[in-house]
Amino acid sequence: MRSYIRRRLLTLVPVVLGVTFAVFVMLHLMPVDPVMMMITELSSGQAPIQPGQVTEDRYAAMRREMGLDRPLLVQYGAFLFKAVRGDLGRSFQTRRTVWDMITANAPATIELAVAGLGLAVLLGIVLGVIAALYQDTWVDAGVMAFSVTGLSLPSFWLGIMLILLISFKLGLLPVLSPVGWQGLILPALALGLRASAVIARLTRASLVEILNLDYIRTARSKGLPGNTVVFKHALKNALIPVVTVVGLQFGNLLSGAVIIESVFGRPGLGSMAVRAILFKDFPLVQGTVLILAISYVCVNLLVDLSYAWLNPQIRLES
């Protein structure tokens, strides 16, 4: 087990290198550089604005101060060298350390992603089990129709509709997300509904397959109660493929959080990253991508480790 974990953690290295290099290249391929972004933004600020005062010398000096005058590979190497020592640099825009900004914004995103995932898993498994148990009835059809709908609705639209219906028309929750669990309900629903649809379909299919196996037939013929057969003997095995999907869905939820955070005005990594990209805040984008890549790999490792718990017969190769 330990060697398996060690090997998996080593895969972090190529993943992180690949992802950060790709993002680095894409950022530098964009035509407008961060200095020009600051000057342009400056131009829409308070008067008097005298564009000619931003001379070629001043522009060159700003690029030098931000380290943008060095060759690209040197810039990338410097980023990696500092990142290994825990220094992700400073945001061009806010001047705060990237680490400080990530730690300030990450809790809100994690909270939202966990709430969304929890809701997705709960709703998805419950609906999937119901559909499997009432296979080929109108209940099954209803659940699958809900699943198709959930997959089809864009989370952006769903978020706005939930605000319009639940907050504005029915007045059950405020429009502006309050602090605490109340502020999580609608965003988590908007975020998790799509994932719950995927989980519901997979749970249903997997459970239907398991329920047709010989050992389940044996359990039933021995006179075990139906609930025991389903929840003690069948469901655990049926959840193995579902666990894989849950791990993958976590990545989708993190990316979905970008949209949901914008719609509901919630702070978080997603909205921070979008703003960083728009303003060419290179250190902040690179630092955020690095942390998200590491998180994604670690979550998938946890998912794989959970297989062994679900079914001890699955051995993790050494």
Binding site: V32, S44, Q46, A47, P48, P51, R58, Q93, S262, S271
Partner: protein, 539 residues
């Protein structure tokens, strides 16, 4: 089922009645209450001495004070400085400070604090984008506790305008040293509001400065602000901002859904708080180096073909006004005769093209010359206002036989197209108070150098000379006459399609009173108060 789910919210819209509290009648200002503003304009930080964008300036206007304040073009009144003197050569300025001003941390405002502020801005370690506003700065000299003199190596007549901006507003040296990096998020200045903190990354809270007694003379409220608190909630989505306002969870929304403008205008529960931005209006400069926009006849014809009134009415729901020329009409150097140029006249447009030898193709209906169709590509940003305006303009151009192609994309992509000279029309608008914004938009040095805002690629020596003269002169009347000549020259050459004058678009509950925009287009919350049930929101 999918259809039912999709229709359900629509049905709810029509079935559920809206609450409609009647607005209270106007009354005297009442202290107290928390004003909640929802906006997408989240500042990167709050220190105007480091970097100022519009996002920062709106908030800083209420947390910082400048030494002097601008009330009109070329008119300034005392602020933190009771009086000032300008050297005849414009190489030094002396400010005599008030003696009763305290920073938010209780430390006194004095000459040392002003020197500290400006030296900090010029210090390369600060990496301040405000440094150019101190021109060819030499040093700041402390003459006595409350008298400070700034020196420049070259004449700097515009410094009087620069120093009226909050970008050069004094900050507390004690706080800068005590707070270190945190000063960027919670600056300490002298304004009517102080920064209480950021409860989360998307919420900023300001509290009233109870000691504030040094408001400039043009403000009706000379004491502390009426509002106890101001809460900014930063929300990107315009629908969410609009719903928060309609649900009365916020008092003011910046840039709510534009199609709601007629509702907010006509419904007594709301008010529109709009402010026209001065400077160079939104326009589409013709690229004079590419055919057919290199032909002045084509440019003039296109100018006559565009119905600006219709664009302002339809594309913007009457929240923008038609542009009249190279400057917005509220700018002090706006040339009144600019309004006479290029009224909407499709007959005139086709007449000009035919007189220049263009012939209409019977099958495509577009004009052409020597087999080449009159086809121009507008490369613009894919913001809703640009797309809407461009789409309407496309129809108008088609009517007069001009093939007007709209290519809307993200800002970065437009910059690349401009740099590669792959367009016939660009896009630009500059929010500036001083007409010197014309220099940035039309000087030949700005085609490939500097900000590269001369997207029309005008390379005209006479124009350059006038633009240079405009920034060298100090006498307002002489500057105005020079800029009149600039505008005439630009309009005579039909250098651009001047489309619309943008407005800051705010909507608020009608119980928010005393909302004020200053002359440079920033809102001042010092005189705002809340009436009636407005005071219960947020408490």
């Amino acid at each position: 089922m999918v259809l039912a789910i999709g229709l359900l919210p629509v049905l709810m819209l029509f079935l559920t009645p809206q609450a409609a509290p009647a607005p209270a009648p106007a009354a005297a200002p009442q202290p107290g209450g928390t004003l909640i503003i929802v906006t997408h304009q989240k500042p990167a930080h709050l220190d105007p001495g480091v970097h100022t964008s519009r996002y920062t300036a709106m908030i800083n206007q209420n947390t910082h004070d400048s030494l002097i304040w601008q009330t009109d073009p070329n008119k300034f009144v005392p602020g933190l400085a009771e009086r000032w003197e300008v050297a005849p050569d414009f190489k030094s300025y002396t400010f005599y400070l008030r003696r009763d001003v305290r920073f938010h941390d209780g430390t006194p405002l004095n000459a040392e604090a002003v020197k500290f502020t400006w030296d900090r801005i010029r210090d390369p370690k600060t990496r301040s984008t405000r440094a150019p506003f101190l021109g060819d700065y030499l040093r700041t000299e402390v003459l006595d506790t409350y008298t400070v003199r700034v020196h420049f190596s070259d004449p700097y007549p515009q410094f009087i305008q620069s120093v009226s901006s909050v970008g050069l507003a004094p900050v507390s040296p004690t706080a800068v040293q005590r707070l270190g990096e945190n000063f960027l998020k919670t600056p300490v200045a002298t304004g009517p509001f102080k920064v209480e903190g950021w409860p989360d990354e998307n919420t900023l809270v300001l509290v009233r400065n109870p000691d504030y007694r040094w408001a400039p003379s043009y403000m009706r409220n000379r004491g502390p602000a009426f509002l106890e608190k101001v809460v900014f909630k930063f929300i990107n989505e315009e629908q969410t901002k609009t719903l928060a306002l309609e649900k009365r969870e916020a008092h003011v929304a910046e840039d709510p859904a534009r199609h709601m403008a007629p509702t907010f205008r006509n419904d007594p529960r709301y008010q529109l708080m709009m402010h026209k931005t001065s400077g160079v209006p939104q326009h589409w400069p013709f690229n004079v180096t590419r055919w057919p926009t290199s032909d002045v006849a084509v440019r003039r014809a296109a100018s006559y073909a565009m119905d600006r009134e219709k664009i302002a009415r339809i594309a913007f729901f009457n929240t923008a006004t038609p542009a009249k020329g190279p400057l917005v009409d509220i700018n002090w150097a706006f040339w009144p005769d600019a309004k006479k140029y290029y009224p909407y006249d499709t007959g005139k447009a086709t007449e000009i093209l035919e007189a220049a030898g263009y012939k209409r193709n019977a099958s495509t209906k577009f004009y052409e010359k020597d087999g080449r169709p009159v086809r121009m590509r507008l490369v613009t940003t894919s913001t809703w206002e640009q797309v809407r305006a461009a789409t309407l303009a496309q129809q108008m151009m088609k009517e007069v036989g001009i093939d007007f192609v709209v290519e809307a994309m993200v800002y970065d992509a437009t910059v690349e197209r401009y740099a590669n000279n792959e367009y016939e029309l660009g896009r630009l608008g500059l929010s500036t108070f001083d007409p010197d914004g014309l220099w940035g938009a039309f000087h030949s040095s700005q085609i490939t150098g500097g900000t590269q805002w001369n997207r029309g690629r005008l390379n005209n020596k006479e124009l350059d000379t006038l633009l240079d003269r405009g920034r060298e002169l100090s006498d307002p009347e002489q500057r105005k006459r020079t800029y009149y000549q600039v505008q005439k020259m630009l309009l005579d050459m039909a250098n651009a399609l001047y489309v619309f004058e943008d407005h800051y678009f705010f909507a608020g509950l009608s119980c928010v009173r005393g909302w004020n925009w200053n002359v440079v287009g920033l809102y001042e919350l010092h005189g705002v108060w809340l009436e009636g049930d407005c005071r219960r929101i947020g408490n």
